[in-house]
């Protein structure tokens, strides 16, 4: 029984890792080798594919574009969500519960629904094809998410901390930045992670709201069919590099993520 379940577990792990492994080995081979046949361990490993990406402006510009709107989106989302979540967590006001629930229901609409209004609006005001356009569009989804996550973490902090700070004579701003924020920094990490990941993998809005100037990496990857056929190796290398930021963010917030799951807010 024990053995069987062990095998099952290992089998599942292989199943999960296999596509990743394949992507990485493809990125380390040239096109001839890739097309030639099955090769578990690359015979002639090469970094030429990565060199191509870091040397070709179309590629690295794509990465830069993606990163700029993702970072912009994460910053805006968290900065907006922090005071909002604090208000939901600490104050009672008219319609607070309904508003809070409505934030969540916002996430139920598929991004495609908003394509047309965003496209028309941004074209009209000259925002089309800028990182800010994509960042703002993504905010529609990431702000409610961040508010929801942060509210959970904030409500886990006893209200007496706020009261003690008031008795100590701190103003709200000082308390929030110097005492409260360090207390919930785990929650901020989790919120950053989810905003970042949403924005990083979202394709539809990013593709529609950009032209040639702010073209994100995922879009560059879908347009690599050239006259000489498909450039498999470079494509795989781009895929590997696309995964890296996500892995890095997970690495930084892995401990707080567990707490977020425990609070039921992630």
């Amino acid at each position: 029984m024990r053995r069987a379940s062990n095998w099952l577990l290992w089998g599942y792990c292989v199943y999960l890792v296999l596509p990743l492994y394949w992507l990485v080995t493809m990125a380390l081979r040239n096109n001839q080798d890739i097309v030639a046949g099955l090769e578990v361990i690359p015979a002639n490993p090469t970094l030429a594919n990565f060199a191509e990406i870091f040397g070709n402006p179309v590629w690295y510009q794509g990465f830069a574009n993606s990163l700029s709107y993702v970072v912009l989106n994460t910053l805006i989302s968290v900065l907006v969500a922090l005071p909002a979540a604090y208000a939901f967590s600490r104050y009672r006001f008219m319609g607070d519960r309904h508003l809070f629930f409505w934030l969540l229901t916002n996430r139920m609409a598929p991004p495609a629904v908003f394509l047309l209004p965003f496209f028309q609006l941004y074209s009209a005001i000259g925002l089309f094809d800028t990182p800010l356009a994509v960042a703002l569009a993504h905010c529609l989804f990431t702000v409610p998410l961040a508010v929801w996550i942060l509210e959970g973490f904030m409500s886990a902090v006893p209200r007496s901390l706020d009261e003690m700070a008031r008795l100590d004579g701190h103003r709200l701003g000082y308390f929030f930045l110097r005492i409260f924020l360090p207390t919930i920094r785990g929650g901020v990490g989790v919120a950053v992670f989810f905003c970042f990941m949403f924005s990083w993998v979202e394709l539809l809005l990013a593709r529609t709201l950009t032209g040639s100037e702010a073209k994100p990496i995922v879009v560059v990857m879908t347009r690599t069919v050239s006259a000489s056929g498909m450039d498999w190796g470079v494509l795989a290398a781009a895929g590997v590099l696309t995964i890296v930021p996500g892995v890095a963010v997970v690495w930084f917030v892995r401990r707080h993520l567990v707490k977020g799951f425990a609070l039921g807010r992630v």
Binding site: E163, M164, R166, L167, R171, T183
Partner: protein, 367 residues
Amino acid sequence: MAEVKLEGVSHRYEGARAHTLENLDLSVASGGCHALLGSSGAGKTTLLNLLSGLELPSSGCILFDGEDVSKLDAGRRNVAQVFQFPVLYESLDVARNLEFPLKTRGMPRRDRQARAVEVAGRLGIEELLGRRARELSLFEKQLVAIGRALVRPDVALVLLDEPLTAVEPARKWQLRRVLKQAQQELGATMIYVTHDQTEALTFAEQISVLHQGEVVQTGSPTDLFERPASEYVAEFVGSPGMNLVPGEVRDGSLLVHGHALGIRVAEAPGACTVGFRPEWARAISAGSDGPGVPAQVTDTRTQGVRQRRPVGVVRAKLGEREVSLRQALDVTTGDAVILQLDQLVAFRGGAYLQGWSRVEDGTYARA
């Protein structure tokens, strides 16, 4: 240290229909230790928030040393509070936590450090000064929280909101002693809020019993035991509380459950309630001498042994009412007994009327 006075303070939360506190008067001497005792929902937390300034009263005055602070915000009242669960700035070490309230009041760095060390010494936590707040046990955290409250040399008032709740029972005594010692040495005015009467009775010199938003009695622990102002206080204070049985004044004498004990009273005739504490009465086998009230034992509970005889609580039925008596267990369930009362009080209309105690020749004198 300040003398604290509340004059006609009422508070109603926004949107609430009824007042949480109504027309409340309270006076705490400078350097005194005062407890607020009440069951949950009596308005203890509201009163605490009014004192600290987290809430402002709807009407009435709060005076610190004669100065009206009713409209002052929490930060400007110079009040410190110890919460039910210890609250510290978790990312700072203990010394910095202690210094923090001084920093916001602009005390120079060197004085701050000296004061933090002094207060830590008073509480016996010098060895914790370098530790991180989040590494401490609950008990140590609460000690530091108390230190934080006492650290400001000019603090007007220290509020304690059930500070022993989170502490394990075995260490409650220790914390209470440390707290009381520090209070006496530093001369702080303290208001201690609790629903636990043992804590209130052992900690404070003066106790105010709060009930439904009003102070129903203020007095020393002895006052609360001997002369409860109302039937509510009589039942609420003590464990078990005071036994209350129906009584009557007829022809100038007091009848307890229809039996005369030879007590002459000058009150107008009519029904009243007679109360006696479990320690004030004794059930003895029927047929013994002396005036008493007949009853029947329904239950006995052993709580210990004294001079090789079991002692505990005897429950006895007196007509409809059941009463508790703390005594030697020389009677058993089902016995017909008579209750001899050493001391008793009478209430009329819920309020205290008079008290008597038995003198040597078996007659009763007014207490």
